[in-house]
Amino acid sequence: MIDKTTNQRAWFLVLPVVVLVAFNALIPLMTVVNYSVQETFGNNLFFFEGVKWFEQILHSERFHAALLRQLSFTGIILLIEIPLGVAIALAMPKRGPWVSVCLVLMALPLLIPWNVVGAMWNIFALPDIGLLGRMINGMGFDYNFTQQPLAAWFTTILMDVWHWTSLVVLLAYAGLSSIPDAYYQAARIDGASAWSVFRYIQLPKMKRVLTIAVLLRFMDSFMIYTEPFVLTGGGPGNATTFLSIDLVKIALGQFDLGPAAAMSLIYFLIILLLSWIFYTLMMRNEDK
């Protein structure tokens, strides 16, 4: 909603960013693209194979299954974490000593290295020696995530919600903090209800920040690897073998870099497409 002026000299402001990011992005990208269209028999000889790998992947049942699992997982994650994060941000204290306490405590799960997250939840959720496992079984449920696909899904989702919701909370909270007082004052004078304030002031003013939160959670959950891998190993069976895990299995399992590279590119393009859709949907009505 800002009236932007056209000024090509703005490129100077953006240049450092472009240089640093492109340096890291372009060269490795070219390497991957290179591999994805070649075949090697493991002895450093490369044969151009064109789109063979792409076709193979796109037609593979295994890929479809992993993709479906991934889409379901990400969908559930977004549906839980975004509203939950916003609700918590709205309810959090805004001033006083509790602000510091809340912010610091909420940030803690984000700071744990992801392999430790997976490992701790692994033990935490075990039915015999883990706190969570025992609690759930104690409530009468038959819960064992190492053997039951449903339990594995439940645990993985719970772990992700535990790990990442605070990201949404922090972004939403910071976004709320940026809303100028005058809006609340005007709303008070206008006699607006708390729901009206949320719907007409808070939510619209948080739109950009929420878009970022959605995109971040979408991308990161779509690429998720370490935590579920350490937690369940992709199992039981391949119940929780999400796309990344499948990709690594393929890459390690074969001596060919080709299929893995091709799959990475397809992977990337899916994320790109979906992100772009999310972004466009959420940002419509912005530019005139």
Partner: protein
């Protein structure tokens, strides 16, 4: 409704603290105890895990190395992201929309496949095994994050603020530093924490680009997981200790994040 408002964050924090308590209690147990039976708190309380970390140079050097590149990266990312975000927010220029989206695309690829190319790249420029290498490599995903978040906050500040300042006689830099930045304090606080966090927990590139001199805790921790089976107690202790620097960071920026609220909701 107002009275139960505090219930929501309280329940959430309790939910968060339960596994953390579990982690901390694991750090005071031996691996045998962890895997042997269920115990709510350490039956055989031990400080061995922590002692190992504090006395083994690979461990504590790991912390310093990690802190080094993470701080370098945070400062670098935020400082270049600020002018760029300002440009995206206030100006239209050739390719701006595409450039903006392209930045985000750098977070869209699973890193596993890029490990080898990154290794080759940084070796080629002679930066292998330095904190600088990791700091620069992390720019790949942290700079886009910073630019996007900052731009989001900057767009919430009406352009009239800029213009009023110029009319009042401010030069661009004075306006930027004394007026604009305080207005987006919440965004900057959040960005600093997130860039710190994402760089801090990143394992793959940190491991790939270092070997001995700049070895971060990331590498040492994955070693714990692979070589001698799971040394769970040690891992838990390391995990607990990794929380601390980040906790400082968020504590440090807490007032920036909540600044808007403090400015006097009448």
């Amino acid at each position: 409704m107002k009275r139960v408002k505090w219930l929501v964050p309280t329940l959430y924090i309790l939910f968060l603290m339960l596994p953390i308590y579990w982690l901390v209690s694991m750090s005071f147990k031996t691996t045998n105890e962890i895997l042997g039976a269920f115990s709510l708190w350490p039956q055989e309380f031990t400080l061995d895990n922590y002692i190992t970390i504090f006395t083994d140079p690979t461990w504590y050097n790991g912390y310093f190395n990690s802190l080094t590149y993470v701080l370098m990266n945070t400062l670098l990312s935020v400082s270049v992201a600020l002018p760029a975000a300002y440009a995206f927010s206030r100006y239209r220029f050739l390719g701006d929309k595409h450039l903006f989206f392209w930045l985000l695309t750098n977070r869209m690829a699973p890193p596993a496949v890029f490990a080898l190319p990154f290794f080759q790249l940084y070796s080629a420029v002679g930066l292998f095994d330095t904190p600088l290498a990791v700091a620069l490599a992390h720019c790949l995903f942290n700079i886009p994050l910073a630019v996007w978040i900052l731009e989001g906050f900057m767009s919430g500040v009406p352009k009239e603020l800029d213009e009023t300042a110029y009319v009042d006689g401010y030069s661009f830099w004075r306006f930027f530093v004394r007026i604009f930045i305080p207005t987006i304090a919440a965004g900057i606080g959040v960005v600093m924490f997130f860039t710190f966090m994402f760089s801090w927990v990143e394992l793959l590139l940190a491991k790939t680009l270092t070997s001995v001199d700049a070895k971060p805790i990331a590498a040492t921790m994955t070693r714990t997981a692979s070589t001698s089976g799971y040394e769970l107690g040690l891992l838990a202790a390391a995990g607990t200790l990794t929380i601390i620097p980040g906790a400082f960071v968020i504590y440090f920026v807490r007032h920036h994040i909540a600044k808007g609220f403090a400015l006097g909701r009448v």
